[in-house]
Subunit: 416 residues, 2 copies
C-alpha cells in the first residue's frame, strides 16, 4: 500500500475510535497482548531475518535492541496489559464553568486524532506506541527504522488481529511500508492527515523535522544534560549522583553529558570525581573525562575541545568545566543545553531556588540524578517520549499529553 | 534596527522577565497605561499619517479599524489595567507528587520565553498583545500590518517608557521595523529566538505559516462555522440563534458561515429562515442566502456553488444546505469545517450528545450561538486569539495558554 492510501485509511478509521468506550479500548489492548503471543513464531522468525540482514550494518548495541526473544515478546504483551490498566485520559472535564447567562462550558479532554511516530529499529516501540495511542483514542501511523521492518510488520499484523477481535477497524494502526528517507518526509508534510508527529531518534531526525515538517511536531529525546556541583555541595552525594547520571546507562537521553564545578570546590571535588568515574571503575567502564583548562590544572584527563560542550555523547564520556558561580553555571546551560534535564547539587537554598527558577529545561533537579526524567519515574505510568520543546507537552509524555481538548457548550437559546 | 538584531535583544531580555514578581509586572502594566495616555498627541498624529496614506488603499472597514481616537486610546489603556488585575498564570503548581523514593516533583507553570505575533493593521492589538505577553512573563515580538506601522511604533514607544519606569528592559517589547512580507517569513524561521509564533490574520497568512514556519506556531482565527438545525429543533430559537451568529457581526471568526438543515424540517424552517435573515432585515443588512438544490426547491435565493461551502465569507452571506440527518451534518462538518465553532439546535439529547462527541472543533455548542467563542465570554478574562489547531491550545487563548511548564524535582541524593 502507498503511504498516501494508508494515511487516508487511518484518517478514515480514527473518528470511530475517538468516541469509543474505555472498556472497548481496554479489551482491544488485552486481545492485542494475546495475539502478540499467539503470533510468536511468525514474529520471531521475521525478526531473525531482520537481525541476519542487519549484522555488520549496525553496531552490536543496535543489534541487541533489534533482537526479539520470547521473553522480550512477553514483556511487550505485558506492556499492552499495563496500558489497559491505566486510567482513560479521554473525556476528563478539565474545567467547568457556568456563565451568568446560563451557558455551561466544559473544557473536555479529547483525542488528537491521528498520531504518527517515526522511530528507530526497536520492535518494542511498535507495540508500546500502538498501545499508548489506542488508549488515548488516537489512530496511529508507525514508521520504524528500515532494519526492523519485517519485525514491525509481523508485530502490527498481530496487533491488528487484536483490534479486529475487539470490533475495531485494523486500519487504526497504520505501518509505513516504505522505509526510505522519503517516507519520513512524506509524513512530515501530510497536512490534514496527521494531527501530531513525534520523531523519536537522533539529532539528524530532529533537525529534519524542524526543516521539513508542515504538520505539528513534538521534538523528543535529545539530551545534553548538565549537573552543577555548587560550592556548598555534599561532595560525596555529588559523586554518587554523577556516577549514576553518567554511568548507569550512558546511551539514554537523561544521562549526564556535562559536569559544571564551582571553582571554590574544584581542587577538592575534581580528584574525588576522577576517583569515582575513572579509578574505581577501572574494571567496569571507566569514564573518559574531557576537561576544560581549569580542570586540567587539577586532574589529568583529555583536554576538552569546544564541541565537547555541545555533544550528546551517549557514551562513557563526560565533559567537565570549572565555573565561577551558580550564575555562570546557569548562563552556560542557557547556551549549551537542549532543554531536557539539569541538576544542581547544593546545600544553599538560595542557589537552588535561583537554579530552578532560571534554568529553562523540561526537568530541573536539586540534589537528585537527571536519570529520573522518565514517565514511569514521574508517576505517569508510561511514556511516549521526552519532549524537549515547550509547546503542548514538556518532559515525559504520558497518556494525557496525547490528548487535546474541546469546549462543549450547552445552552437554551443564548445569543450574544 | 534589523530584525535579526532586534530578535537577539528580545531574547537577551526575556530571562529577567521570566522570573519577575507579579507586583513588578502589574506595576509595569499600569505605567504602560499611563504612558499610552501621556503619549496621546504623538500616537494620534502618527496614526493620522497612517490613515491618510491608507485611504483608497484599503477598504473603509479596514480604515475604521486602523483609526485611533482619544476614546479608543483610552480603551487601550483600560485594557492594560484590566490585564494587570488578572491572576498571574506563572508559578502555578499544576501537579505535585511525592514519590516513594522521597523525590518531590512539582509540575510548575512557566513562561514560554519569546512570543511573536503577526497581525493586521489594528493599533489596539499592539497594546493588547504586549500586555498579555508581559503578564504571562513572555518577551514579545510584534509585527503589524504595514498600514499601521507608524501607529504601532508610537504605541510601542509609549509602552517601552512604561517598562523602563517599572525597572524592566524596554527590549522586552520588540517591534519589527521591516513590514515587507520577507520579515514575516524571517520570524517564521527564527529558530532559537522565538518560542511561539501566533499568526493573526487571513487564510493567506495561515497558509504561509504552514508552508514556511520552522518555529512553533499556533494557527488562529479562521472560522467556517456551521449551525445544524435538527429535526426536533425549536425553530423560533433556531432563527434567533442563526440571526445572531450570522448577522450580529459578520466580520469576526466566530460568525456562522454555513447553515445545515434537517430535511424533515426544511419545508417549514427555510421560509422562517428567509423571513428572519432577508425579509425582516430589509432595512438593515439583509443576508444573501446561497442555497443548495434542495433548499432552492423551497425558497428563493442564490444557487450555491461548490466553493460556497468552503468559504469564510466574513460578510452578510450564508450558505444553506439540506441534510438527511445528524450523521450527514457531522460528516459535512468533518469535510468542510476549519475546526473553530459549530452548533446544533435540537431538543433531542441523543443527537446533541452525538454531535458534541463527534464534531472535532474547538468549541461545540448545543442550542447557543457560535458567537460565544471568545476569551471574555468563556471567562478567561482576555484573549490572544482563537486557536484552530489541536496542539497546546485550542479555542480562545488566555494567559494560561501563553505559558508552558517545567518539572521542578527536589531530592536529597536520590539515584536511580
Amino acid at each position: 500500500m502507498t503511504t498516501a492510501s494508508m494515511l487516508a485509511a487511518v484518517k478514515g478509521a480514527a473518528p470511530a475510535l475517538a468516541g469509543a468506550a474505555t472498556e472497548q479500548k481496554d479489551r482491544a489492548l488485552c486481545f492485542m497482548a494475546e495475539q502478540l503471543l499467539a503470533h510468536e513464531e511468525t514474529i520471531l522468525s521475521a525478526n531473525a531475518e531482520d537481525v541476519a540482514d542487519a549484522r555488520g550494518q549496525i553496531t552490536p548495541v543496535m543489534i541487541d535492541r533489534l533482537t526479539l526473544t520470547p521473553e522480550r515478546l512477553s514483556d511487550m504483551a505485558e506492556g499492552l496489559r499495563q496500558v489497559a490498566a491505566l486510567p482513560d485520559p479521554v473525556g476528563r472535564v478539565l474545567r467547568r464553568v457556568e456563565r451568568p447567562n446560563g451557558l455551561v462550558i466544559e473544557k473536555t479532554a479529547v483525542p488528537l486524532g491521528v498520531v504518527a511516530i517515526i522511530y528507530e529499529s526497536r520492535p518494542n516501540v511498535t507495540s508500546d506506541a500502538a498501545a499508548l495511542t489506542l488508549k488515548s483514542g488516537n489512530a496511529c501511523v508507525l514508521r520504524c527504522g528500515k532494519e526492523a521492518h519485517r519485525s514491525a510488520k509481523a508485530v502490527v499484523d498481530a496487533l491488528q488481529a487484536g483490534l479486529t477481535q475487539a470490533g475495531f477497524a485494523p486500519e487504526l494502526i497504520g505501518l509505513v511500508a516504505d522505509t526510505s528517507r522519503d517516507s519520513a518526509t512524506e509524513l512530515m508534510q501530510a497536512v490534514g492527515y496527521i494531527d501530531l508527529l513525534i520523531p523519536r531518534g537522533g539529532a539528524g531526525l530532529i533537525r529534519s523535522c524542524v526543516e521539513n515538517a508542515k504538520v505539528p511536531c513534538i521534538q523528543t529525546g535529545t539530551g545534553i544534560c548538565h549537573i552543577f556541583v555548587d560550592e556548598s555541595a555534599d561532595l560525596a552525594m555529588a559523586c554518587r549522583i554523577i556516577e549514576n547520571a553518567k554511568a548507569s546507562r550512558p546511551s539514554v537521553c537523561n544521562a549526564e553529558e556535562v559536569c559544571l564545578v564551582h571553582q571554590a570546590v574544584a581542587p577538592v571535588f575534581l580528584p574525588l570525581l576522577r576517583q569515582t568515574l575513572v579509578t574505581d571503575r577501572a574494571s567496569l567502564h571507566p569514564v573518559e573525562l574531557r576537561l576544560d583548562a581549569a580542570a586540567q590544572a587539577v586532574i589529568p584527563g583529555t583536554p576538552a575541545g569546544a564541541a565537547d560542550f555541545d555533544t550528546e555523547f551517549l557514551n562513557y564520556i563526560l565533559a567537565v568545566k570549572v565555573v565561577a558561580d551558580v550564575d555562570e553555571a546557569i548562563a552556560h546551560i542557557a547556551r549549551h543545553s537542549t532543554g531536557h534535564s539539569e541538576a544542581i547539587i547544593t546545600r544553599n537554598e538560595e542557589n537552588a531556588a535561583k537554579f530552578t527558577r532560571l534554568v529553562d529545561s523540561a526537568a530541573v533537579y536539586v540534589n537528585a540524578s537527571t536519570r529520573f526524567t522518565d514517565g514511569g519515574e514521574f508517576g505517569l505510568g508510561c511514556e511516549m517520549g521526552i519532549s524537549t520543546q515547550k509547546l503542548h507537552a514538556r518532559g515525559p509524555m504520558g497518556l494525557e499529553e496525547l490528548t487535546t481538548y474541546k469546549y462543549i457548550v450547552r445552552g437554551n437559546g443564548q445569543i450574544r
